[in-house]
């Protein structure tokens, strides 16, 4: 089965998006899910292939109009609970769809 491609986005891809990526990784690990996760900067997100995108409330509008993948907004980048609550069912659904392909 192909792994999901999950991207976390901040302004420059070096600070907050890296922290968000780590939090997503922690959540995936505790759920026993294997996926590819990458940090990305907001300007290059349009050309990237992804199954799911995470970002902050402030960057949502800029991102959502340039990508096809669903975009999830996270307020606390250190909260595995928030990431889980907002994304786990979506991730499981995407994995199911991937399996059927």
């Amino acid at each position: 089965m192909q792994r999901l491609e999950i991207i976390s986005v901040c302004g420059f891809g070096i600070g907050s998006s890296l922290i968000l990526k780590m939090t997503i990784d922690d959540m995936l690990k505790s759920e026993g899910i294997e996926a590819n996760t990458y940090p990305q900067d907001v300007t290059s997100v349009g050309g990237i292939k992804a199954d799911l995108i995470f970002t902050s409330n402030e960057l949502y509008d800029q991102i959502v109009e340039r990508v096809e993948a669903p975009v999830i907004v996270i307020d606390n980048f250190l909260s595995t609970e928030e990431v889980k609550e907002k994304s786990l069912s979506k991730i499981l659904k995407l994995m199911e769809e991937n399996q059927q392909k």
């Binding site: 901040c10 302004g11 420059f12 891809g13 070096i14 600070g15 907050s16 890296l18 922290i19 968000l20 780590m22 939090t23 900067d41 907001v42 970002t55 902050s56 409330n57 402030e58 960057l59 307020d75 606390n76 980048f77 250190l78 909260s79 595995t80």
Partner: protein, 145 residues
């Protein structure tokens, strides 16, 4: 190691700032003094805040100020400043901010380890409480050993 980045030279406790711009400027001073960043990096961070919004407030009370890797950054570095009175960044949920971290990197991957250690600390409520109340350097640096 975090203490190579955050130590008595780069940590400022219980400072005063009237607004978020002043707070970022002040938090970056130790890195300018040490020659690790140039003034231009501070301007980069402030214009990022202006253009992209207060997304750098990554959890309640904590801002991680940073900008694009550039010639204004001489080496990987971080500084930290806590405030006597928190300031508003305009974040819809995580305001007001009581602690500012400044992060600078000449490229995008060398600081990964230190960022990982910091984010592990920031996910602990006990550490956040300590940031909020501490007046003594040792109370904070003990977490960085």
């Amino acid at each position: 190691m975090i203490k190579d980045y955050l130590n008595e030279k780069t940590i400022q406790l219980k400072q005063k700032a009237n607004n978020c711009e002043e707070a970022i400027r002040k938090a970056a001073i130790p890195l300018i003094k040490e020659g690790k960043i140039l003034e231009g990096y501070v301007e980069q961070m402030l214009s990022a805040l202006k253009e992209l919004g207060p997304y750098m407030v990554i959890l309640p009370g904590i801002a991680l100020a940073h900008a694009r890797p550039s010639d204004n950054v001489k080496e990987d570095c971080m500084s930290m400043m806590t405030l006597v009175e928190p300031v508003m960044f305009g974040h819809w949920k995580n305001d007001p901010v009581h602690t500012i971290f400044v992060l600078a990197s000449p490229n995008s991957n060398q600081h990964l380890e230190v960022l990982k250690s910091i984010s592990q600390l920031l996910s602990k409520e006990e550490f956040i409480d300590e940031l909020n109340r501490c007046y003594e350097l040792e109370d904070i640096t003990k977490y960085f050993n």
